[in-house]
Symmetry: C2
Subunit: 340 residues, 2 copies
């Protein structure tokens, strides 16, 4: 080998080593969309603690349960909850079959696009809209209606399908936890049968790991074929103190990590934190009006009905060591560059 | 090598081959406690069909959902449902705190060991007993009570812990399905929080894969510590037409295989069978008075309230191709030789 050959070989080695280490570097950061900071550090340290065998905080894989709220935690809840947008679209679509809605609230408000009257109808009004738009068909028919809606409709501001607006840092977090043998669950106030058609594709969370609100269903045999009819009757509300109830009912184990973004997640985080051993509780704080939204009376941001983050929640987070994620400071990117 | 050496080498080879083939033989029969026959053949052919890639009946692992009833399907339901035995023990234990039970039915019947009066109290009476004995404590306290009971109490006839009476052929079946990437669920009329403390150890089914009846719980913070209080109020009855409802609610996917033993499982098997593609529906028939029990009006056996197998169910099974398992003829053994 002459001199040039030797230099080339050494250079190739150096370059090879560089490429190798760059590759390893990329592989070893499982959370590339997270800026270095307290939030990212809390995640990485927690996962290391519970997965280190013989460590003080080791947790067996079977008990590595992580629960995620959906609206405002995994995807936007503004300008309104995605499911409310779906319900309003359904009401408009069903209106020709219901001439009485032209004069009956809260339906009139929807058909007139009168957001003030809609807001005045309150939660009771929303329940009425959901019952009218989500019941009266089989579970299979409802799934087809939901899937079709997700395919056709675009978010009013971001002009993408709702299913293409999952927060990129949270997708990385879900993947990172699963790569460390966590079982990831969605525990949302949203309707379980509204979420299930899309959670596997969007979040990698299969239907059986989705806990949500529900209406009752009834088994019937129609023309010799069994169906489940959706009834206009509330079965379970998976919000606030309903979240630990739902976790116990559907999972039967206490999570060791829980992620939310609003007052509706408070009890889920309390319940998670009350278990023994290492725990991770985090809240996504919407403080990025430019890239997404900024709201929540905590820290003086504007109020909202779609994901309230109260000062009381912020105080409890500080007191209990829950980690608050600043979308503006902790996240390099909000949405995937190339939506699925 | 002299002659003896050669013979020894050949013998060693023969013995080696024999040992090898015996080992392989044992490994390739995943259901050693099942006699050769239609039931075993149906299982093996079904599993082969849904796991053969590019085959007409192939099912992706994520959709390989199998649901099992518990009482009478995975363990005995005689002389009474295990959970009823637990409830009666609890009533006796709590009696000193409830002097009024001495004169009030159905409690008086329990304390007097008056099975006739207890039967006369009917299902409503049983619900009253369950409410009185299963509510009024936290979920954690109830779990400890149940675990303690399972540890201390023995089955009146078999003199083993109830958790040591899982049917050996069904344990092999559960294991065989899981080895073929099935997710195995229990879908039982029994209480979900009565089963969860033991299903992982006994059946290899984790808490989150147990669907059952439930009473309501309420989230409370007691002395700064969050608890879930068990309320004397029915939440969900996972029996008969409640089984497909529960499957849809908790799993969100239709099973491709379902196993039961009584009229309470009829709708679960119908719902399972109504899906497209290969399906396996099986019913355990209790016709073995010598080794276990024989009951069910079908085939003229004595009637029972604990796992009725009606003639109508037998007729539907024949009409729809559901496989009826004869405990006497299909099972080589009923219980594990060496209980866990």
């Amino acid at each position: 080998m002459h001199k040039h050959g030797l230099v080339s070989a050494v250079m190739a080695g150096v370059i090879g080593a560089f490429v190798f280490s760059a590759t390893v570097g990329a592989q070893t950061d499982p959370l590339p969309s997270w800026n270095d900071g307290a939030a990212k550090q809390a995640i990485v340290e927690f996962v290391e603690a519970v997965t280190t065998e013989n460590g003080a905080d080791y947790v067996a894989p079977a008990d590595r349960i992580a629960t995620f709220d959906n609206d405002g935690t995994l995807w936007p809840s503004h300008p309104m909850y995605t499911q409310l947008a779906f319900a309003l679209d359904r009401i408009r679509e069903l209106a020709p079959q219901h001439p009485e809605w032209k004069t009956k609230q809260p339906f009139k408000a929807v058909l007139d696009n009168d957001l003030e009257a809609l807001a005045a109808a309150g939660e009771r009004g929303i329940v009425e809209l959901v019952m009218a738009s989500h019941a009266g068909m089989t579970t299979a028919e409802f799934e087809a209606i939901v899937s079709d809606w997700f395919d056709k409709v675009r978010h009013p501001r971001f002009k993408r399908r709702y299913t293409e607006l999952a927060y990129r840092p949270m997708l990385e977090l879900l993947e990172f936890l699963r790569a460390n043998d966590f079982k990831t669950y969605i525990v949302s106030g949203g309707g379980v049968e509204f979420m299930r058609p899309m959670t596997e594709k969007v979040y990698g969370v299969p239907p059986e790991q989705v806990v949500g609100s529900s209406i009752k269903t009834k088994y019937e045999v129609q023309n010799g074929k069994p169906v489940l009819m959706r009834l206009p009757e509330v079965d379970f509300i998976d919000d606030k103190s309903g979240k630990p109830v739902g976790i116990n009912k559907f999972i039967g184990k206490r999570p060791i990590a829980a992620f939310g973004n609003s007052d509706g997640d408070r009890e889920m985080l309390e319940w998670t934190g009350a278990g023994e051993g290492a725990r991770l509780m985090m809240l996504v704080f919407h403080d990025d009006a430019e890239r997404e939204y900024a709201y929540g009376p905590a820290d003086g941001l504007p109020n909202t009905k779609f994901g309230t983050f109260s000062q009381a929640l912020m105080d409890e987070a500080k007191q209990k060591g829950w980690v608050v994620i600043s979308m503006e400071n902790d996240w390099k990117a909000i949405f995937p560059d190339t939506p699925k």
